[in-house]
């Protein structure tokens, strides 16, 4: 414990440097804006701004990009409460009761509860991350290729199991992403795979063009501008304070949402979206007045908003400790670390303590910044929502092009981004979730290398995955999840995932 505190102090010495504070602040501001604006989520925001961090060192880069991620969870609630449009996907559940509170003239109170809940959840998440990540990383040092291959299989199957689309759809997307990750030179044999004599494809398809295309451009193509209205009224500062009754009603939902969100966040999948849904369902289930849900229940705002913030922090645990991305956002953050020459995983704590602890300490500071940004300055941020979408989306397209081109100065990457935008548009039309595709693309090199090394180690025996205790345990978890999915399918039982899909489909975008 003493060692943890010493390390955390080292982190704070990094996080309180004025230049690092500036980049944390920039990340929080951009994250709040990204969360508020419909049409760009945290993934698109991080991907577009990734090239901007190339001139920075790894610590500042990851602090700024992570600030965008957890800042977007704060910002998303503003649009949901004031306009009933989820600024980003995790805010879908906040739309229901947050907007109903706004209709009753309690918009300020709803914003305040959302911000305070987010702050408590975010801070709890960082404390838990501080405690859990280093020992988990130390444990993961025992992992060899079979363990890593098994861990990535579990991650993909968990993602498929947690997804609101069907298991086969999610695994199909993951396989497609893994296949895209095979493009380029095979590092073990030197073979060119699917490069079609295009030299730029020799290094493979980049994560940034795919992520920006699918989530940035693809979202814009699916959002016709005439559907976006910008009728919004900013609450006055004096209206922001909830009543004593509202504070009382929000206390326990914040506590429950925080714990639930963090646990869900560690599990692979679109954790921040799932956690807010589960928290809403839990609050409604245990409420003494379930009939108030949908009509402005305070718990319907406090629970989901706390849960999605705790989940976004929880998602950093497997990313930092195991090098396992739990979703597309952490996948792109991992890519950012790799670009800066810092591989996330068990060795991160020992080999790059300044990056690891500086990043964790910056999250404590970032949560404070976001509380300050999202309460007194909400009136100023709301003005951004008044920019007509017709002006906003051309600018986003411009930043998509700049962002992708600047990574490698390759026009092929920009064409890939455009193609992926069209693919993303079509995938949405046919009810595919593009997130597993990005995840597959990110883990493809590690997965292939681990799988092939495992087979070489065992002289071709697949049983190696069941002979070593850790990988055997992970394979049993995978099998269990597949059995659970099969049972759910055979029983034709509708569970929370179907309800989540319905909730996502019924909310305006």
């Amino acid at each position: 414990m003493e060692a943890t505190i010493d390390s955390l102090l080292l982190g704070f010495s990094v996080a309180f440097r004025p230049d690092v504070l500036l980049y944390a602040f920039l990340g929080c501001v951009v994250g709040t804006l990204v969360g508020m604006l419909p049409g760009i989520g945290p993934l698109a925001g991080i991907s577009i701004l990734l090239p901007v961090t190339f001139g920075l060192d790894a610590t500042k880069a990851i602090i700024m990009l992570a600030g965008i991620y957890y800042g977007s969870q704060y910002g998303g609630s503003t649009t949901s409460i004031l306009m009933r449009i989820p600024g980003e996907a995790a805010s879908v559940m906040t739309c229901i009761d947050g907007y109903a509170m706004a209709q009753k003239g309690r918009a300020g109170a709803a914003l305040c509860i959302a911000a305070v809940g987010s702050f408590i959840a975010g801070t709890f998440g960082v404390i838990a991350l501080t405690v859990i990540a280093p020992p988990l990383g130390a444990f993961a040092l025992r992992f060899g290729p079979p363990e890593y291959a098994a861990l990535l299989v579990v991650g993909l199957i968990f993602l498929a199991y947690m997804s609101s689309t069907s298991l086969s759809r999610t695994l199909l997307m993951a396989a497609f992403g893994l296949l895209l990750g095979c493009i380029g030179i095979d590092v073990m044999t030197g073979h060119f795979r699917y490069a079609f004599d295009i030299p730029d494809l020799g290094d493979g398809i980049g994560i940034v063009p795919v992520a920006v295309g699918l989530f940035g451009l693809g979202e814009i193509l699916s959002t016709p501008s005439r559907n976006i209205t910008a009728k919004v009224t900013a609450p006055r500062f004096a209206e922001l304070l909830p009543t004593r009754r509202e504070w009382r009603e929000s206390a326990m939902p914040i506590a429950r949402g925080t714990v639930l969100g963090f646990i869900v966040g560690i599990v692979p999948g679109s954790a921040h979206i799932i956690s807010s849904f589960l928290s809403y369902a839990l609050e409604k289930r245990i409420s003494k007045h379930p009939e108030e849900f949908g009509k402005g229940a305070v718990a319907g705002v406090a629970g989901p908003e706390s849960a999605n913030n705790a989940a976004s922090t929880g998602a950093f645990v497997p990313m930092l400790a195991l090098g396992l991305p739990t979703g597309p956002v952490t996948a792109v953050l991992m890519a950012a670390l790799l670009i800066h020459g810092v591989p996330p995983g068990p060795q991160l704590v020992t080999e790059h303590p300044q990056v690891f602890w500086g990043f964790i300490a910056s999250m404590y500071v970032g949560n404070l910044m976001l509380l300050a940004l999202n309460l007194p300055l909400v009136g100023m941020f709301v003005n951004v929502l008044r920019i007509p979408y017709a002006y906003l989306y051309p600018l986003i397209i411009m930043f998509c092009i700049i962002g992708v081109y600047e990574v490698n100065h390759s026009i092929i990457d920009v064409w890939i981004m455009l193609a992926m935008g069209v693919v993303g548009y079509l995938l949405r039309k046919f009810d595919f979730d593009p997130a597993p595709l990005v995840l597959g693309l990110v883990i493809a090199p590690t997965f292939e290398m681990s799988l092939r090394q495992s087979l070489i180690m065992s002289n071709g025996a697949w049983t190696i995955f069941f002979e070593r205790p850790i990988s055997a345990g992970l394979m049993v978890v995978s099998a269990g999840l597949l059995v659970l999915s099969a049972v759910s399918f055979l029983m034709k039982r509708k569970d929370w995932r179907d309800k989540l899909a319905q909730a996502e489909a019924s909310e305006p975008r």
Partner: protein
């Protein structure tokens, strides 16, 4: 909707559903790429070749695509997919494609100004002067921001070489 003659004779109508296309496209694409993968050696389990992973993944892709087709009757009919945003999406893609094609040839400022102007004036029907001012202002501002402040130069116009 599409109906096969046999089904019409037997009084049944087969409705083409969303997942017939969704799964079918992946099965077809998987088979096509598999056919193109002949030069990639699979190797053996003890010594996996460059083609092992892609071929396994293609097999999975085809299998999952086939499952989606097999369960297509549970999904909505193809005709129910809303395409009301298609024209907007297609024009945005076309405008972006032209801008990307010109990006390194005529430089960032000209190609992106053109892109923004087309999107604002022709697609979004904004006033001429406002569309022009926003296009030029935003593009030049971004160019200066990236080339001076962020030290990450964007493609210059040919005359600037």
């Amino acid at each position: 909707m599409a109906a096969r003659p046999d089904d019409e004779r037997s009084g049944r109508r087969v409705i083409l559903r969303r997942d017939h296309i969704a799964g079918g496209v992946f099965v077809a694409a998987g088979l096509l790429v598999l056919a193109m993968s002949g030069d990639l050696p699979f190797g053996t389990l003890a010594s996996p070749g460059a083609g092992m992973m892609p071929k396994l993944l293609l097999g999975l892709m085809i299998a999952f695509g086939a499952i989606i087709v097999a369960r297509a009757s549970e999904g909505p009919p193809l005709a129910e997919i809303p395409w009301n945003d298609f024209t907007h999406a297609a024009t945005v893609v076309a405008a972006a494609a032209v801008a990307i094609a010109l990006y390194t040839k005529i430089g960032f400022v000209l190609s992106v100004t053109l892109l923004l102007f087309v999107l604002l004036y022709f697609i979004e029907r904004r006033a001429l002067w406002r569309a022009l001012a926003v296009s030029v202002g935003v593009t030049v501002g971004s160019y200066l921001l990236f080339s001076t402040l962020l030290k990450s130069p964007l493609p210059p116009m040919p005359l600037w070489y």
